[in-house]
């Protein structure tokens, strides 16, 4: 399976240009969509799940325009929106059953079996008869994943899935996605502003900023871009105050007589700075704060 996004633009009636000439190719596997808030990730997602029509451009799924083949797209789609809630008056299993039935599972017996299997997979079997308003935040999220997964979707799109989850839940969620991504011919698109989610799960990613794709490739490539620009140094409180004005400080750890800080900088800073190996978080900051600005200046 392959998704091709060509010259995609979305301008809202209020004039907001949410997406600007987006061009992307997404192939089977897990694809991360990273960007700050307001970068256009959700708009792109909503176009991909056929909730919103683009202003111009085209999205092809295996060569077919998804706007003209919404029915086919929706048949293979599993979607978890950013702010997922469900009818409080329905029980956990009922909501899943509703989703399963709409996903095309007509046989009630099989459907109920699948519902229980899915509840088990996301660890909600024990609360199958509980109403939604009685579930914890993490449970609701897992139920959201379950409803998206039910019916074996080929295209799985999740928008900001780990927001608000505790570390355990986040790890559990990542594992579910990893397992799913092992399947053949399945595309998983994960939109997030939490870079850790991308590094641990995605084979490919795109970085969106202000409606534009500023980076597209493997996460390691993004990390490579930051090599030689991440440093660690110890600072006195006075130096720390000064450094805050000069550099992008990524982390700050209190030590004796001052702070151990990690900074991103085009040039090695003066003093006791030691170059360190960047991770994706360093790369994201370097890219957003230095590379893009530098490119714009050029």
């Amino acid at each position: 399976m392959k998704i091709e996004i060509r010259d995609l633009n979305k301008i809202y009636p209020n004039g907001t240009h949410a997406l600007k000439n987006i061009n992307l190719v997404i192939e089977s596997g897990m694809f991360g969509l990273l960007g700050p808030n307001g970068a256009g990730k959700s708009t792109l997602m909503r176009i991909l799940v056929t909730l919103v029509k683009p202003t111009s451009g085209i999205v092809l799924l295996d060569g077919k325009d998804i706007q003209k083949h919404r029915k086919e797209v929706r048949k293979i789609l599993g979607y978890l929106p950013q702010d997922f809630r469900f009818f409080t008056s329905l029980k956990t299993w009922e909501f899943l059953d509703y989703s399963a039935a709409l996903a095309g599972m007509k046989n009630r017996k099989e459907r109920l079996k699948e519902v229980d299997r899915m509840l088990d997979q996301v660890g909600l079997l024990e609360v199958r008869d509980r109403n939604a308003n009685k579930l914890s935040g993490g449970m609701k999220r897992r139920l959201g994943i379950a409803q998206a997964l039910i019916g074996n979707p080929k295209l799985f799109i999740v928008d900001e899935p780990t927001t608000g989850l505790d570390p355990d839940e986040r790890i559990r969620f990542r594992n579910i996605l990893s397992t799913l991504s092992q399947k053949q011919d399945v595309i998983i698109i994960l939109s997030t502003h939490i870079v850790g989610d991308i590094s641990s799960t995605c084979q490919n990613m795109a970085l969106l900023n202000k409606g534009e794709v500023v980076f597209c490739g493997r996460p390691e490539n993004l990390v490579n871009e930051a090599k030689g620009h991440v440093f660690k140094m110890n600072l006195t409180p006075y130096e720390y105050e000064k450094a805050k004005e000069e550099y992008d400080i990524i982390s700050t750890i209190p030590v004796e007589n001052g702070w151990e800080v990690q900074i991103v900088s085009d040039l090695p800073p003066d003093g006791n700075a030691v170059e360190i190996e960047p991770n994706i978080e360093h790369a994201y900051v370097y890219y957003m704060e230095h590379k893009i600005h530098a490119d714009l200046n050029v």
């Binding site: 909730l51 919404r70 029915k71 929706r74 048949k75 979607y79 978890l80 008056s89 996903a103």
Partner: protein
Amino acid sequence: MTFLHNILTVAHYEAKTLRRTWFFRLFAIGALFIFTMLNIGLFSPVGTESWEMVSIPSALPLINLYLLNIGQAVVVIFLASDFLKRDKKLDTVEVLYTRSVSNFEYVTGKTLGILRLFLSLNVVILIIGLIINIISKTMKVDILSYFEYLLFISIPTLIYSLGLAYILMLIIGNQAITFFLLLGYAALNMFYLWYRAGSLYDYMVFGMPLYKSGIIGFDNITAIINQRLGYFFAGVSMIMASVILFKRLPQSRLHTNLARTLLVLCIIGSGITFYNTLNNHLEREKLKRSVIEINRKYEKSKFPSTTSADIELAHKGKTIEAVSMLRIVNDNDTPLESYIFSLNPGLSVKKVISGNSDIQFKTDGHIIEISPAKRLEPGGYDSVTIFYSGKITEAFCYPNFSDDPKNNRYRIAMVNVNKRQAFLKNNYLLFTPESHWYPVSGLNYYPSNPARIKVDFTKFILKAKSDKNLKVVSQGIPGEEGEWTKYSCPFPLTGLTVAMGNYVADSITVDSVKFISWHYPGTDYYKKDFEELKDTLPNLISGFMKDLESGFGVAYPFSCLSMVEAPVQFYSYPKSNTQVRAEIQPSMVIIPEKLSTLQQAGFAKRFARQKKQMARNNQIITDKELKVRIFNNFIRNTFISGRNFRMVNGVLVNEPTRYLLGPSFYFFRNNFYSDEYPVINAVFESHLQKLNEPAPAGGPGMMAGNLSDNDRANLILKNTSFKELLARNPSSDTMRAVLTLKGDCLFNYLRYKAGINEFNEWFKNYIWDNSYKRVNILKFNNDLKERFGFEFYPYLEEWFNGREQPGFIFTEPDVTTIVVDQRTRFQVVFTASNTESAGGLFNVSFRTGGGFGGRGGGQAIMSVTFQGGRGGAAGGGRMMQIAMQGRGLTSSDISKIVYLSPHETKKIGVVLESQPRAMQINALFSKNIPGELVFTIQEVKKESAKQKPFEGEEIVQEIPSFTQPGEVVVDNEDPGFYRSATSKMNPLRKILSGNKEVAETYQSMNLFVAPEYWQPVVQNTFYGRFVRSAVYTRAGTGDRYVTWKGIIKEPGYYDVYAYIGKAGAQIIMRGAGRPGQAGAQPGRPPAGGPPGTPPPPGDQSGEPARQNPYKDFHFKVYHDDGMDEITIDYETADPGWNKLGTFYLSPDTVKVEMTNQSEGRIVIADAVKWVLKE
């Protein structure tokens, strides 16, 4: 399959979601509770089992769904708009929107879900009703009607409400606004639109007649289907529009196109069905206008009179074929060039023959104009035979009445019943003369003079057959002639009625009159209820007939009386030219199926209830006696003297029941006509056709400040002549009241001139001698002159064209015992003055002996206690019993009729053999409101020495003073009385409350919801020279006030008084029931009375006292030293004048104000007086 699967899935979960909402749960639980109670209370054996509810089985599902539908039509609006709101609000639906479900499937599924939920509730409530229905021993089960009403009432309303809610929600996007808009629309429908345009706007069938007859089923099925399908289609089209406008990207072109196609088809469907509904209504209205216009063209024509008619009628399913052989006479004084007949416009004339040859004719709508070979000279006879066929167009029957359900409402319980004037169906036929199903030589309505009527006394022979083998019922003696059923009438009739159906007959002959009950099998439930009366039935019937005959002073003129059961939808409008309704025909009464509209016809329930009540009161009565009593009550209240009370524009109107047998004693036998005064027959009829009842025409209502018919008529005729009034084509209620008053006036004049007994005796013989003849009023005038030596025709000029009314003032009667011929007699003397510039009559009668029990016992008699002013009529007598006297053929109760010329005063003396308890005066046509006065005589003075009896009239020069020297009185009727401007009411509140401001006319007093303005009201207890009225309003903070302004000429100290007419405060109404009802005991006033009768404060009945609506009244007295505020406590105030204080006043305009400030609910303002202290 996926299509259905998706729809059902969405429907399933939508229903589940909604079912679990608190809003629906509360509604459902509430509805289940209310309807269970309602069904138990109304229909079960432990409930009221009101006969009108339980007699026709379809009433149960109808009333259940009718009420539920009003509730659910509102609730569904909220739930439907809520679903769209939820969809908009929750991201949950995004996960559903990304599923492979088309918008069509999604919206349809949602709709089905909501529908399923509501229909389930409907079904559960119907099952509850069905269980009660099955348990009930009184009701039969009409299982089909349960489905029919679900289909006709609930489904179209729900679909339409859903569609409307969706589309508005999609367009407006705000649930609150949508909800309130739709709620407003529902309210607008219920209060304003529901009856308009042939029920076109009535989406929740709030007023559309849906009543199903047990005989013919739905009579208006096409109209029902059209209107309901219209809303069904409109609902579906809006749902389809919602599919198209739904804010989700569509995924199926096929489904979108399906929605578009359905949208177009449903718009077309609703267009066609709504067009049919509207067109049907417009066509009826158009036809009515056309009938009036055609009648206008022909009303000046001369008509022949039909002396005999041989009619052959063949019923052919939904059409008829008929031949009428008519023998006519020209009783005009000029030759007839053509014969004009009126035939129902649905029937078309094929040919007309005279002798054996065809003769020319032309038709103009319903008019057939036949051109005979030679003109018909006055007094000449001719015969014509008319061949015709077709259907009956009912809109023709009452062209001056709109058929909308609001006018002349015909309801059973709370649901409207369709008003039908004729039936022509495969399984049933009913034609009355009003439908002109045979050629009638005259018009059914004379537009220039609606009071005009042409009555022919015709000898009918009917031969009828039905291709459906239906039993033929008509008037006369039945016989068989091959396949024809033949009815020959031995007596002339004013019209012929025919019914065909699966009738069976029961008959009994009493005193040579054959009484036949034509009914449908199974509807003769009363036979079982009155099984024990079988042997006494002839005696009972004989008693009734003798009562009737002695009441009217003549014998029942026919040899039979048929009671023909007709579908409940049969209804006649009241006419302006006669009080005879179509339900009463010569020797025939058309009664509603299973007596369903007659409340007293639930005999078994009444028996059980009364027996229980009697046991509770330790009254011993046998079952048979009780059944006799129930039977008597029913017969009297239905056929002899029953009345229906209803409110018309705030005034209580008591309309005679539709089945009174009165017309048999005048209208069906006699006719007086006049070219100059065409209303004369209606006037004669109004006066003569009434039993002389002690029951007041408007009596019960007067306790609520309601006007009697006489008073209403006098107010209507204030400054208006009878002729001018007729030209305005007044309503039938007005006509009835005015005709009766004018009839009373005319006959009192005749009796005054000829002598009461002399005239009565002569007139009784006169109308008997002229039975079945049309009598010209000029001939009557000549005959009268020959017998009594005076002409009354010249009097008619003033009677018809005069505008002035006399006004009478009476002193209280002075009663003394005297000895005449060595026997004690009672001398009554009183003075009467006519202070106005028109002469007038009043009559006097006396109640003697004990108690006030009237004919048949148990008239609703009210007593009002108050203390009067000095001498004058104002404040009048003391104990009053309101009654009406001097009507009917005999009017034997009148003791004296007095004529007073303008500004004339007479001392009047009457010598009575027995002690009078009360003197009743009927001021007839006058300014006196109320015009019927009763002076209770509480003191009889001992004889004075050598007092000579004084019997007769004596003109006196001194007019009794209305006020005393030094008194200035300002009444609310006087120019010095001012009301503060009426408060402005919110227009919406005005529509919803129906509280129309009618502050310029007298209304019934509403003690529960008093108006927010000063409303004039008339009661005997109030002060007034001629009109005893006051104004009342709802108590408040003092924002409304009235002012009395008088002019004083002398300075000095004045006592200032306010008149407190203790309205209704001393009313005592207890005992047993309705006018004419047996069972009241002499001396003990019975209870009952019309709806709206106020609670009796100070009731002595032993029941818990209800809160008095009157408490403190606040006055402001302006005087030379400023202003004093004075409060009068109603409870402790004297009835009549109450002193507010003594104040010094200089010659000038003096003023007293009263505000609406009060702790009570109501304040009343009447009169104020200033009395100079000596």
